[in-house]
């Protein structure tokens, strides 16, 4: 399923009109889902059980990558896009710096995953190359807009286009880190901007 440029333009225009303050209104748009998720929801929160599901997307070498292949390890998952010069690399470099501080045995138990929410511009190769810039074992995934939308929806990730001057566009997107447990279930959420020390404390609090 490919959305027409007109649909994108309409959705983007609508975002501009309602503004992010009107997030509650966004379910009226085609690309949205649930209300944005607040950071720091405790693991006991029953709403966590409703967030996330297994997914099958495309990674390096155009190979299919299934989230089920990471069972037995933790997954640290982030949704972003590669044309994002500030928020996404800031988050991913912070995540990389945090993971670098873990002892090797602990580090081996965690899989860092980046999923693009801009599949029109980010092919699987672009997403994969981008992820590798932050760490050799960082996995970057893309897919069809339909598959990305399904995956993002399951994690309650909001995304939508925002036109920029000069005809380009940026993506508005939920910026949060998901920790998925070895059983494939969501262990918890982490804010995107935690300093490494707090980040590690929070990972441990979530059962890592």
């Amino acid at each position: 399923m490919k959305r027409s440029p007109q649909t994108w333009a309409m959705a983007a225009g609508a975002i501009l009109l309602v503004g992010l303050a009107g997030a509650a209104l966004l379910p009226r748009l085609a690309l949205t889902l649930a209300p944005p998720v607040a950071a720091g929801v405790p693991a006991a929160d029953p709403t966590l059980a409703e967030i996330g599901s297994d997914f099958l997307l495309t990674g390096a070498g155009n190979m299919a990558v299934a989230s089920t292949s990471w069972r037995g390890r933790f997954v640290l998952l982030y949704f972003g896009y590669t044309h994002c010069p500030d928020e996404c690399p800031t988050t991913l470099s912070n995540m990389a710096a945090t993971l670098d501080q873990l002892p090797a045995a602990a580090r081996a138990k965690i899989v860092p995953v980046f999923v693009t929410i801009d599949p029109e511009r980010d092919s699987a190769k672009i997403a994969s190359d981008y992820a590798h810039a932050f760490g050799a074992d960082f996995i970057g995934l893309s897919g069809s807009l339909a598959d990305i939308t399904t995956t993002a929806n399951s994690f309650k990730v909001y995304f939508g286009k925002r036109p920029l001057k000069g005809g380009d566009y940026a993506m508005d997107h939920s910026s949060i880190l998901y920790l998925i447990g070895p059983d494939g279930k969501l262990a918890g959420l982490l804010p995107a901007d935690l300093p490494p020390k707090d980040f590690i404390t929070r990972l441990h609090a979530l059962g890592f």
């Binding site: 500030d86 690399p89 800031t90 932050f134």
Partner: protein, 142 residues
């Protein structure tokens, strides 16, 4: 007559000595991700008199503009910003996750470790060229 001339010269010197200036520190560029042509630049600016940053350019960069990353209910967005207000004597920091300079249509790869001369144009102070250190995309803010 002579006294008037001296006074005029004195006034001119005084004016010149107090021309509005903006000081820049901590300028750096987060290099584009592999194969991308967009990057963010950061700098801290201190104007001695109230001023505004109104335009930006850099060689080999098709378009340079002010953008602000904002987080609203966990949703990150990036918005165009026309001008950046610089209150007198206060340092305004452009830093990751907030206000930044977006460099678009970068014609050739930026070399990590080199510097990019970025020209900042102000409403009052004369244009300032800052040498922004080019750091890897995965760099942590210095």
């Amino acid at each position: 007559m002579r006294a008037v001339s001296l006074a005029a010269v004195g006034l001119f010197l005084a004016t010149a000595a107090h021309a509005a200036t903006v000081a820049a520190t901590f300028a750096w560029v987060r290099a584009p991700a592999p194969g991308r042509a967009v990057a963010a630049a950061y700098v801290s600016l201190t104007a001695d008199e109230a001023d505004q940053l109104v335009a930006i350019d850099a060689p080999g960069v098709g378009m340079a503009m002010l953008h602000e990353s904002k987080m609203t209910h966990g949703v990150a967005s990036m918005n165009d910003v026309d001008t950046l207000v610089l209150p007198a004597g206060h340092t305004v920091a452009l830093s990751p996750g907030g206000m930044h300079i977006m460099l678009m249509d970068i014609a050739k790869p930026l070399v990590i470790g080199a510097t990019l001369p970025i020209t900042l144009h102000f409403a009052h102070a004369k244009a300032l060229v800052v040498q922004a250190k080019i750091r890897p995309v995965a760099a942590i803010a210095p």
